[in-house]
């Protein structure tokens, strides 16, 4: 794997450049907008997704976190600036090569009702297969691993049309896991799920990160959940990065007031626990 080599090089540059972080994914001078929007939705000088960690992007509705994630995933071309994956701009990767390095689970997915969970998970192998290629042993193994990790073994023969929202989400997670990437981006994977499935999803992500050392960036609606699960937080406000760092440094009563417009008490135990009081 190129990882150790990269760490080595970044360690040597560390001495020279001081605050260079080992970002698996780096956004540099990004300005992002949609064709329909008049002003840029996101403007940020630099954003780092640290290697081997779980980074949560948090912020209120419309703060640009999903947009930012899309540009990191090569789904949205920036007006200016660039995104670097392992030191190479993402435009240099061809589509399939990129999909072998970085997986993305979008916020809303269209699930053909008659597709079985297993068939869906096999689609995750798409970037690893040639145009006419049959699934090989490696594909089978990756699919089994993904199904196991996401805990959907009992659902594999069920069709998506017969699954609950939470089961469906786990099936989709299994699909991106089968993609077998070093970097995984998830756009609000827990929204609309019941508490049990929210935890299942986040535990799967945590396991993936710990067992396979996958770099994760996840957009989360719920800052309390983000504080609990993530190693790093990136707080966005009005399309700009408000703060960046480990949860216990980022999550403060000021942040909740400034960014989320909520008055809340934060207890550090030592992880921050948020008790919201009322909106501002």
């Amino acid at each position: 794997m190129a990882k150790s080599e990269h760490e080595h090089t970044s360690a040597t540059t560390d001495g020279e450049q001081g605050e260079e972080r080992d970002g698996a994914l780096v956004g540099d001078g990004l300005t992002l907008s949609y064709p329909t929007s008049e002003r840029p939705v996101v403007e940020c000088d630099r954003i780092d997704i640290p290697r081997g960690e779980i980074t949560a992007l948090v912020g209120p509705n419309g703060s640009g976190k999903s947009t930012l994630l899309k540009s990191l995933a090569k789904q949205l071309t920036p007006d200016s600036g660039s995104v670097l994956l392992d030191g190479k701009t993402i435009q240099e990767y061809d589509d399939k090569e990129f999909a072998r390095e970085l997986g993305l689970l979008s916020q809303e997915n269209e699930s053909p009702g008659s597709l079985t969970v297993e068939e869906l998970v096999y689609h995750g192998r798409y970037p690893h297969r040639g145009f006419f290629e049959q699934a090989g042993e490696e594909d089978h193994a990756a699919v089994e691993r993904a199904i196991d990790l996401a805990g959907v073994d009992h659902l594999r023969e069920k069709t998506l049309g017969n699954l609950s929202g939470g089961q469906k989400q786990l099936a989709w997670i299994a699909m991106v896991l089968a993609q077998d990437t070093d970097v995984l981006l998830l756009d609000e994977p827990t929204t609309f799920l019941d508490l049990h499935h929210q935890l299942r999803v986040m535990e799967t992500v945590r396991q993936l990160n710990e067992r396979r050392d996958v770099t994760v960036a996840v957009v989360l609606h719920d800052i309390a959940q983000a504080a609990r699960f993530a190693d790093y937080l990136i707080a966005l406000k009005d399309g700009e990065v408000y703060d960046w760092g480990p949860p216990r440094e980022v999550v403060t009563e000021d942040l909740l007031a400034d960014v989320f417009r909520v008055e809340a008490a934060v207890n550090y135990t030592p992880d921050p626990e948020i008790v919201p009081k009322h909106s501002l």
């Binding site: 789904q75 068939e119 594999r156």
Partner: protein, 380 residues
Amino acid sequence: MSGDAGTGRFAGGERLLGWVDATLVSVCLSSVLIVILGGLVQVSFGSYSMTLGQAWRAVLDTAVLFDPHWMLNFLLGEDLMRAVTGFRGELPELPTTTLIVWNIRLPRVFVAVLVGANLAISGAIFQAVTRNELASPYILGVSSGAGLAILLTLVVFSGLAPFLPLIAAFGGALAFLLVYVIAWQNGTSPVRLVLAGVIVSTVFQSLQTGLFFFADDLAVVQSAIAWTTGSLTGVDWEQVRLALPSTTLAVVLAVLGARQLNVLLLGEQTARSLGMSVERTRFMLSGVAILAASAAIAVAGIVGFVGLIVPHVVRNLVGSDYKRLTVGCLFVGPALMVVADVGARLALNPVQVPVGIVTGLIGGPYFLYLMRKQQNLGDV
């Protein structure tokens, strides 16, 4: 469900042929049966009537079946057969029934089979590419573009008649491109594609009707009308030979492209995040669909509704997986076409109506039924 569902390991979908299930097999077998029965009826009746037994014996006449010269004569045409085999003599004499069945009636059944298969897979592909259940070569302007090109050839450039399938494909492709360009606005949406298709179709159909006024004699007008309604009257081995190569190519490509279609069904965003070049894949698959539709239109004219309803019927039976769906369409399309043509040829005997009228009469009510039954028609 796949056969080894119980074992749980490496089940179903991704084994070679693991996606074939009992429903699909029975759909295919019943379609084959319908084609055979319809074909038998088709070869037995007509101005020279024979019993089903006679017809059956004529179809299986070994004097033709095991004679490479006769078979090549049908599949390649006489000149090419002679060139290939170096055969100089006369083809052996055949009994009258065999001659009628093999020379006149069977090719019509074969053309119906080819047309049905082509239209069905064309519709199935277009439905996945545009993510719209209402898509078909007819709706997306391909039919009217190909039809216009054919009419132009017949009425204005009659010297180009041997290249009809190519010209039809060209006209169809041009119309579809036009539809795509009109619908394009930072990508396309299913609704815009259908609307653009309706616009382009309307314009092209007006041009077709307009062309009638420039036709010199009535015969050309009548043949033009046959083209625009879709007819198998008078088709011959020549049409089989004309449609067979592009049909084979389109079918192979469609079956091979099934996995791409399945990924497209997961939505554009997912397809892209899996590393698919979505617009390019869509474009190439549309090319396959245009090829298939053009092969059908070049020999039978514009037969409506087949490309729309066959994928629907098959989807209701075998589900939305495109491997199963494509294969199912390859069987159900011909079955519908052969049966419709039996009706077209024999229902008002001795008058033959264009088969497009019959498919319209079957397709319209079926679609109405679908519309009533399904809540959200329009989503694949």
